[in-house]
Symmetry: C2
Subunit: 179 residues, 2 copies
DNA sequence: CGATGCATGTAAGCTGTTACATGATTGC
DNA sequence: GCAATCATGTAACAGCTTACATGCATCG
């Protein structure tokens, strides 16, 4: 049994697998352009992580791919595919499922420390930003719906659904506080 | 202007403030008992973090609180209260709002690599665990509704709403794949 | 031919983890 | 008196961040 992949490793390895082969730079760009800001796609995380995956035999760089400026194309090995498979299947574990944190929710427990004015201001601003974020994820969803892969569509749909739920929740909080 | 608090620091400092004064051990227990498994509440994170907050002047330990076994009660200073306030208000920033990650969603983008059988198995297991997690958060919500603080209720309500959205989304994915 | 972008990588620092260590208290 | 729990803490390590460094390619 091989080691477990971290979330970032899983996403990136699966991504490379999906594209069949790609460069580290493209992986970085995908992370940077994703609607979620959880991962920055920083060089200091991506390159060492990919080296790690190569050392562990999950990734291999195509030998003929050096184009003069040190660019390498990567592809996922058989062991890598198995690791991706295991990473996905581990997603049904309760620890993984319940590991989400929502900074809006964490804060909502302590809104009592704010003055009425500040609280109203905070809620308005949050709802505003959430609406902005929602329209971004919706735009992302529209882009995806034109593509062939239905799974990308499902993923983006999930982002929209959850963002909508967060928004409706915050609005109901604001409403209840106004009374 | 003082430094920004991390999410864990913000939650813990706000928690101590809410309880007026409490021990490090209680902070740990609260983290451990929270429905989200994002923070383990490990000694190796909590004690150094609280020391940090004390060094920075956000926390102070009551001098008369040593009960013979080295237990200390902590309270939040004025500067600490200001830091909590700033931490909450920063929650409306787009970077903070969009920093959520959902391991179920990350994986959904790559469900194409699974066989039909594995995919069905994965979705069934995930939906099962999510339902279990939902009933836990609902129980938590019921507990909170008996308490005086409406903000705790709001927080738990948010957890329920978002979990419901995740569940409905996953069920719709399963349904669409069955056709 | 110089600015911008492509592409890879390293160094130092921060914040979390697990695992271990220590000692007092409480309950049977 | 001994086991479990309360309570605090440290050591080693993992995985991310920012900031820096390097060098080729492309375009005006």
């Amino acid at each position: 049994m091989t080691r477990r992949l971290t979330e970032l490793e899983g996403v990136c390895l699966a991504l490379i697998d999906k594209y069949d082969r790609c460069t580290a730079y493209r992986v970085r760009r995908e992370l940077q352009q994703a609607p979620s800001s959880h991962w920055r796609g920083s060089a200091g995380s991506v390159y060492p992580m990919l080296s790690r995956l190569e050392v562990d035999g999950f990734l291999k760089s195509d030998s003929d791919s050096d184009d003069g400026r040190g660019r390498k194309t990567l592809h996922v090995t058989k062991a890598g595919k198995a690791a991706v498979n295991a990473w996905i299947m581990a997603g049904s574990e309760i620890d993984v499922i319940s590991s989400v944190t929502d900074p809006l929710r964490s804060r909502s427990f302590f809104l009592g420390v704010l003055s009425d004015k500040q609280r109203a201001q905070y809620l308005d601003a949050s709802i505003n930003q959430l609406e902005k974020y929602l329209s971004e994820t919706k735009a992302h969803l529209k882009d995806r719906s034109a593509e062939v892969d239905q799974f990308e569509y499902f993923g983006s749909l999930g982002a929209v659904k959850v963002t909508q739920a967060r928004l409706e929740w915050l609005k109901s909080v604001r409403k209840q506080l106004k009374q």
